[in-house]
């Protein structure tokens, strides 16, 4: 029987946590279509990670590995080759995973070669062939139906729960395929080193905007962030200005986040920013302009300058923690 196949990313012999919502979305598609759920781990030496993933099971029938020296570091070219090969070999007719920068790069390429549609950024599975996805910076939700024997999907990480361990399942190896990078060479990744949680995983996010004026002023936001064990975020204006690294950008074209608590400090609330954080449980806005649109989505809005509000808030939280 044809399968639902989830492509996983791993690091240090473990599944990367951002892949877990993609498994949940795939499990819903598997239920809706009556097809079994299978997981795929790609890499130069995928076995250790595959064993760890298989021990958790995540409701899948099996974990498959596909090994190849060209699969690390990641390139869309080699990964698409491997995904196509695995999909054919395993007889998968639904292929997808969490909408990370990796799968957003590789899956459309693979889908094109298989002449299959891809439904991107699924937020809800309506049936086995109809999915809800946000469009126009989250201002509308579209129900999209696919009419194809084989299709791909990417799932928006904030909209599905993390898949939970269910019990051990077997690991099976897919015979290696020719996967090649078409001459592309990854020369390195400049990683933003941080001891803070990943933006997409954090329970608390403190974001700053253009009104912070310069990178040094983010120190104050970092204090607030660290007191709350959160992650630092930013608007496009702040990242474009180089105040903080680009991968901290929240929004339509940055990270999509939905923490328990989101602080928007000196951020006006442009639709492209809202698209990335509107799903947060509690939103706090601190802005000196009472008319700033961010106040329309904020649960708690404080009209104030950050220079005054943030240090005081830090003091109050410190005092509470000390108590």
């Amino acid at each position: 029987m044809s399968k639902v196949l989830v492509i996983l990313e791993t690091a240090g012999g473990q599944i990367r946590p951002h892949c877990l919502p993609g498994i949940t979305c795939a499990a819903e598609i598997a239920r809706a279509t009556g097809k079994p759920l299978h997981l795929l781990v790609l890499g130069a030496q995928p076995d250790a990670a595959a064993q760890a993933i298989a021990a958790a099971g995540y409701g899948a029938a099996a974990v498959h590995t596909l090994a190849g020296p060209t699969l690390e570091p990641f390139t869309a070219e080699a990964w698409a080759d491997a995904i196509i090969h695995a999909a054919r070999t395993l007889g998968a007719s639904v292929i997808g995973g969490t909408a990370s920068s990796t799968l957003r790069d590789a899956l459309p390429r693979a889908a094109a070669v298989l002449d299959a549609p891809l439904v991107s950024e699924v937020v809800k599975v309506k049936s086995g062939d109809t999915f809800v996805r946000p469009i126009s910076a989250g201002r509308a939700l579209q129900d999209q139906k696919v009419n194809a024997g084989t299709f791909f999907f990417t799932a928006r990480g904030t909209e599905f729960e993390h898949a939970q361990p269910t019990g051990a399942v077997p690991v099976q190896a897919v015979a290696a395929a020719a996967a090649n990078t078409r001459g592309a060479v990854v020369q390195g990744v400049q990683k933003t080193e941080s001891s803070r949680p990943q933006l997409t995983e954090a329970k608390v996010i403190v974001s700053g905007g253009r009104g912070m004026r310069e990178g040094a002023n983010f120190k104050l936001l970092e204090q607030l962030t660290d007191l709350l064990g959160g992650a630092l975020g930013a608007s496009r204006a702040a990242t474009d200005a180089g105040m903080v690294p680009a991968d901290l950008q929240v929004g339509q074209t940055g990270k999509i986040v939905a923490p328990e608590l989101y602080f928007a400090v000196a951020i006006s609330g442009a639709i492209q920013h809202l698209a990335g954080m509107k799903g947060s449980k509690t939103i706090v806005a601190i802005n000196k302009d009472a008319e700033a649109p961010i106040f329309q989505v904020a649960d708690y809005g404080l009209v104030a300058k950050w220079e005054e509000a943030v240090p005081r808030l830090v003091e109050l939280i410190k005092a509470r923690k000390g108590a």
Partner: protein, 272 residues
Amino acid sequence: MKILVCVKRIPDPDESLKFAGGGLDYSASKWVPNAFDEYAIETALRLAEVVGGTQRLAEVIVLGIGPESQRQQLTQFLAMGADRGIIVDADPDKLDTATVSKLIAAVFKKEAADLLIAGKLSQDNEGGQVPQRVAGLLDVPQASFAATVEWDQGAKALTVGREVDDGVEVKRVPLPAVVSVDLRIVLPKSVKNGSTPATHAYQEGPRLASLKGITMAKRKPVAVLKPSDLGVAVGTNEQVVGVAAPPARKAGQKVKTVEELFEKLTKEAKVI
């Protein structure tokens, strides 16, 4: 060197959406080029021109898919400085993402282009697939989500800084290739072509068309093709079966002081 750039028209993202009959009513919309496509043409022009000289290093071709009557955004890109245009005359509402990608790949092949530069996303439909699909169909390398591009003319390769989830990945791709561009490609020093002085700082953002550019655009050649000329069958296997407004957030409250905010966060929302 031949660079192909795609342009898509979208309803002005600053206008509010009009929901009607289970869909969106765009009949009164103002149409504008997709912002990422503007970043794509700016990237292509920065690669093609030599600042401080008159030499052109590449021909820049703009491709639009849609009825000929809707060529305004393509003309705008010609006015910015592209050399010529190609229109594939088809009803965009009857084309799915896969077919649009096939049409672009077919034009790329027909032109024997060296590089496709496309926006990473269209602001309206937000599919985020077309450039990667075209690269797959052409079987050429791809560099998605580019924030910087450096052209090594001698080696016929590009070194691209890609914005990925964990930071910036540097990927070198030999030509022919496909590059999809992200926001920061239009910062002052994001594009280097090896001929414009590396110290040159562009004005941030896509350029505006000059008056001369607008006049010249009218005289630039624009070829009109049909999908059948490209051997691509038109159709769709995607269907939009409904559109709805997302649930609104419940109205929030203004607090007067930091103390009140702290009180609310600890006692009411109980989030800290």
